[in-house]
């Protein structure tokens, strides 16, 4: 599925240990005109966040060995006062978890499995662009 082209080079970081999902998200958002980086694990994401400015981070709540690695990503972004909006993807339906992520600074939640169009719309909304 092709995304509507937004014609801008905002940078997006996708963090998920599911390689197939990451590739699908990356292709879709790249086609939409975003510059997309991917990370499969917390340390990789933290390093990239230290070096590059991302407009939006899309992170899974669960990252490989870390049950709630996504929360660590949110914490890293907020502790470093990065100008980054955060989309959390999760297959969990626990309201407590959502509340914790929200209070940590997550901007948007998307339930997994997430449709590409839905993700594109969420990213576009946070960018302030039309999706």
């Amino acid at each position: 599925m092709r995304a509507p082209y937004v014609g801008m080079a905002d940078r997006v970081l996708i963090i998920d240990d599911d390689e197939q999902l990451v590739e699908a998200y990356r292709d879709y958002l790249s086609d939409a005109g975003y510059q997309v980086d991917c990370a499969q694990e917390l340390e990789e994401a933290q390093t990239l966040l230290d070096y590059f400015t991302y407009s939006v981070v899309v992170t899974d709540l669960r990252l490989s060995k870390l049950e709630f690695g996504g929360l660590e990503v949110i914490k890293h972004i907020r502790e470093h006062s990065l100008p980054t909006r955060i989309i959390v993807l999760t297959a969990y339906g626990w309201p407590e978890l959502k509340a914790e992520a929200s209070s940590s600074g997550a901007d948007t939640f998307l339930r997994k499995p997430t449709r590409l169009k839905e993700l594109g719309a969420a990213v576009g909304l946070l960018m302030g662009a039309e999706a």
Binding site: E41, E43, D50
Partner: protein, 285 residues
């Protein structure tokens, strides 16, 4: 499943190696004294940049494994260098201080490629505050007994402090760029360099100035007694083949005389590179 970036860089073949000359500037000539091997991560990835790569490695606490991977990549690349060209290799102090077997692996990899141990200088870097000093000292003693020289990297910053100067007894102080760049216009930086030169002399070490930013900085360093310098304005890091094309190093089987002749950077090439750097072009970085 796709490999993580750590799994990828633990394969030495995914790493590329550039070499940056350390020049001895003396009596108007600039001769290549040695080459520092600099690692680049997987091409076309954000981790091709060394600073990003090693920040990630330290986060993963995988310094020892990655140092070994880098060492193998460097030994492989060094095969294309003349047999008497000295080589500087970076290693974390923690790698030498944690019984990682680095010294044995170093010996094995060098021997496998007929690289004389005496050609190497290990540049010790450390970012973590704690390190097993007795084990580090043992490793250094073992390396020294095999003819390897020791340099302390980034002197003046972080963990490259007075204690490390005493514990590592380095043959070289590699003074961090922070203190070197701009020293021509800054009397405080000159004072720092002056004190480090005096300290190095007292401890029997030589000083290498990292990244002087101008000809004026180079002149000031010479006045302060520093002859060894490594900087992009002298020559950027580049693959072996490029250094050979520029005539800065010879071929692997070049005779010592040929190599010695070639070690003086051709003035025209120097001017060309200097002009490119001044124009803001990135050269093989």
């Amino acid at each position: 499943m796709k490999k993580t970036i750590l799994e990828t860089i633990l394969n030495p073949r995914t790493l590329s190696v550039c070499f940056q000359p350390i020049f001895r500037v003396k009596d108007g000539s600039r001769q290549v004294d040695s080459l520092e091997a600099l690692i680049r991560g997987p091409r076309h990835s954000n981790f091709s940049r060394a600073d990003i790569l090693f920040d990630y490695v330290r986060r993963k606490r995988a310094e020892a494994e990655v140092d070994q991977s880098c060492l193998i990549a460097i030994c492989e690349a060094a095969v294309d260098l003349p047999q008497d060209m000295r080589l500087n290799v970076n290693v974390h102090a923690s790698t030498l201080g944690h019984r990682s077997g680095f010294v044995d692996i170093f010996r094995r990899e060098a021997k496998k490629r007929s690289l004389a141990f005496e050609r190497f200088t290990l540049e010790i870097v450390e970012h973590a505050p704690t390190c097993n000093i007795p084990e580090l000292s043992n490793s250094i003693a073992e390396l020294r007994s095999s003819g390897v020289r020791i340099a302390l990297d980034d002197v003046g910053l972080g963990q490259s402090n007075y204690r490390m100067m005493l514990d590592c007894a380095p043959d070289y102080f590699k003074v961090d760029a922070y203190f070197v760049r701009g020293l021509a216009e800054d009397s405080k930086r000159r004072a720092v360099i002056e004190s480090l030169v005096a300290l190095a002399n007292a401890l029997g070490s030589a000083v290498v100035a990292e990244a002087p930013g101008s000809e004026e900085d180079i002149c000031q360093l010479l006045k302060l007694g520093v002859e060894l310098m490594q900087a992009n304005i002298l020559c950027a890091a580049m693959p072996v083949q490029e250094l050979q094309r520029l005539g800065l190093v010879g071929k692997p089987n070049a005779s010592a005389a040929t190599v010695a002749e070639n070690r003086v950077m051709p003035e025209l090439e120097y001017r060309r590179l200097h002009a490119q750097m001044a124009a803001g072009h990135t050269i093989y970085t």
